[in-house]
């Protein structure tokens, strides 16, 4: 296992303790956005940035936050960054903002952001908290992009809106509905657990 805390944090968040297939967080958005690869990329980049900056800020003020209002303060900080991103996009990158549509607002509801704020940023220095948030977002992105490739390809016959499958291909309607994401997430979990099992068994 990596000794370097930077590397260890990255490996933990992307593989060992992945937010999707280990922590089972952020499942709502996983079901909602992964029938389009473009939307998935946009959403996951937003989540990664918001997690990173909100973890950084919460870590910075953690010693000032009273326990009674700890979580509501975290929510304010997370909402602040999400709204800031939304305002700046609308003003300076309006085309991107239009493409994102409701996804920016949905970032607030992502459990991963709150999870990292509560589990990591409350107990660690600001910069490693920033890194933790960013890599958690990358772990989330990795899984969601994989799911979106499968769903968009089979559901619409396209990737990033570009037609890939031949005209004779009949789209699988189930793939654009939320239940298909459940099936694929379950299969990814199965695969990830299977991959981890020999390693952990071997250690015993």
């Amino acid at each position: 296992m990596a000794k370097n805390p930077i590397l260890k944090t990255a490996v933990d968040n992307i593989w060992t303790n992945n937010p999707i297939f280990i922590q089972i967080l952020g499942i709502c958005s996983t079901l909602a956005v992964t029938n389009s690869m473009r939307n998935t990329l946009v959403m996951t980049v937003g989540v990664a940035l918001t997690t990173a900056f909100s973890s950084f800020t919460i870590s910075l003020i953690k010693n000032l936050i009273p326990k009674k209002v700890r979580m509501i303060t975290q929510v304010i900080v997370i909402s602040f960054y999400v709204i800031i991103i939304d305002i700046l996009l609308r003003a300076y990158l309006p085309e991107v903002s239009k493409q994102l549509g409701p996804y920016v607002g949905l970032i607030i509801t992502n459990c991963i952001i709150m999870g990292r704020a509560e589990a990591f940023a409350q107990a660690n220095p600001p910069f490693i908290s920033f890194w933790d948030g960013l890599t958690s977002g990358l772990g989330y992105m990795m899984v969601l992009v994989f799911i979106s490739v499968v769903r968009e390809l089979l559901g619409f016959g396209s990737l990033m809106g570009v037609r890939i499958m031949p005209d004779s291909f009949t789209p699988w309607t189930i793939m654009i509905m939320a239940p298909s994401a459940f099936f694929i997430v379950a299969m990814i979990m199965w695969w990830a657990k299977s991959m981890k099992k020999p390693a952990s068994s071997g250690g015993k």
């Binding site: 936050i65 304010i76 300076y92």
Partner: protein
């Protein structure tokens, strides 16, 4: 000062400071970018009008120029400073006036094309710069053909959908643009994708209506001579003694009972229809919302009109419809949004038809 972090006083002060700080920063950022956002929104709206009319442009600056030179406002937003189209130059008594204009009629109350004088022709000579900004309908002549583009809003699954639809006087859709929508991302939200919007380009409407097929309807039978027979469905028209159809846009002859659907119109002796926009002859009371056709003397199926040939009358058995005319394929998995689009598009088409009628033009069965 050493204050206990868990005390009520500290908690209140901390919470107040955190709220003020973060909300204050947000307010500052919002205020400093508001003008920029509003300018982009207006520019995008103009670009959307051009897109719906199929007018190409390189950037928003060019779009602004084209918008100002090629588009003429013909209808203003009700309730705005110059909320109604000026009427002094209108010629009273012309046929096919817009709703709310019949003698004794009560004007429509919601988004109707009311407010014009009896038989008014839109007074474009009265147009001001303000009108140009607040108008929700525009006219443009492209390659010698006159097109009308209107902005129309309606309820979607999760919020309001606003579109801009352009069509010609013969009921052929020029194009559609989605100005705003809050539908489910990846499902209903796909109404904004080119693959959906392209279906509208050049689409021939049936009696100024389109049908968005969704779910099992997607495999339903398409147009045939049979379903274009008078009195049987959408846009049905009736002869002198016939009973009109009950579908949308039904028109009736002199002695007939009017239809009950949207835009139903009746002859002189008929009973008023009960549906939206239903109207009768000179003493009639039009519907309360979006009344369009059949609005009184000279209109649709009024006293001087030829029975059964009202504005919205369909050609019946003689109509030649293509197999896909009037049909749009909905978004798979988004039946509610698809049906909402059908309603909004049809309202826009209804408005365009009314505008053309008001201008003294002749609408043709699509």
């Amino acid at each position: 000062m050493n204050m206990n972090k868990d005390s009520i006083v500290y908690t209140v002060i901390f919470s107040a400071i955190v709220c003020l700080l973060f909300v204050g920063i947000l307010a500052l950022v919002q205020a400093s970018t508001a003008e920029r956002v509003a300018a982009y929104a207006e520019a995008s709206r103009k670009a959307a009008f051009l897109n719906s009319l199929g007018i190409a442009f390189k950037d928003l600056n060019e779009a602004e120029q084209l918008f100002n030179t090629m588009l003429t406002p013909i209808m203003a937003t009700p309730g705005t400073e110059k909320g109604t189209t000026p009427s002094p130059e209108a010629t009273p008594g012309t046929a096919k006036s817009v709703s709310g204009t019949a003698k004794g009629a009560t004007p429509g109350t919601e988004k109707s094309v009311s407010g014009t004088a009896k038989g008014a022709t839109p007074g474009t000579a009265q147009t001001t710069a303000h009108d140009k900004q607040s108008s929700v309908a525009y006219r443009a002549v492209i390659d010698g053909i006159e097109y009308f583009a209107v902005e129309q809003s309606g309820p979607g699954l999760w919020g309001t959908i606003t579109i801009i639809l352009a069509a010609s006087a013969d009921g052929v859709i020029r194009g559609i643009e989605i100005v705003s929508q809050n539908e489910t991302p990846g499902l209903g939200g796909r109404i904004d994708e080119p693959v959906f919007k392209k279906q509208f380009v050049g689409k021939k409407t049936i009696n100024w209506k389109i049908t968005v097929r969704s779910g099992s309807e997607a495999s339903a039978p398409q147009n045939s001579a049979a379903n274009a027979i008078p009195g049987t469905g959408t846009g049905a028209a009736a002869g002198t003694t016939s009973i009109p159809g009950t579908g949308t846009g039904a028109a009736a002859g002199t002695t007939s009972t009017p239809g009950t659907g949207t835009g139903a119109a009746a002859g002189t002796t008929s009973t008023p229809g009960t549906g939206t926009g239903a109207a009768t002859g000179t003493t009639s009371t039009p519907g309360t919302t979006k009344s369009v056709s059949g609005t009184g003397t000279g209109a649709a199926a009024g006293t001087t009109s030829t029975p059964g040939t009202g504005t919205v009358a369909a050609a019946g058995a003689t109509s030649a419809l293509g197999v896909s005319d009037g049909y749009i394929d909905g978004i798979t998995g988004a039946t509610r949004t698809s049906k909402s689009m059908e309603v909004i598009v049809n309202k826009a088409l209804e408005t365009i038809r009314a505008l053309i009628d008001a201008a003294g033009g002749t609408t043709v069965n699509g």
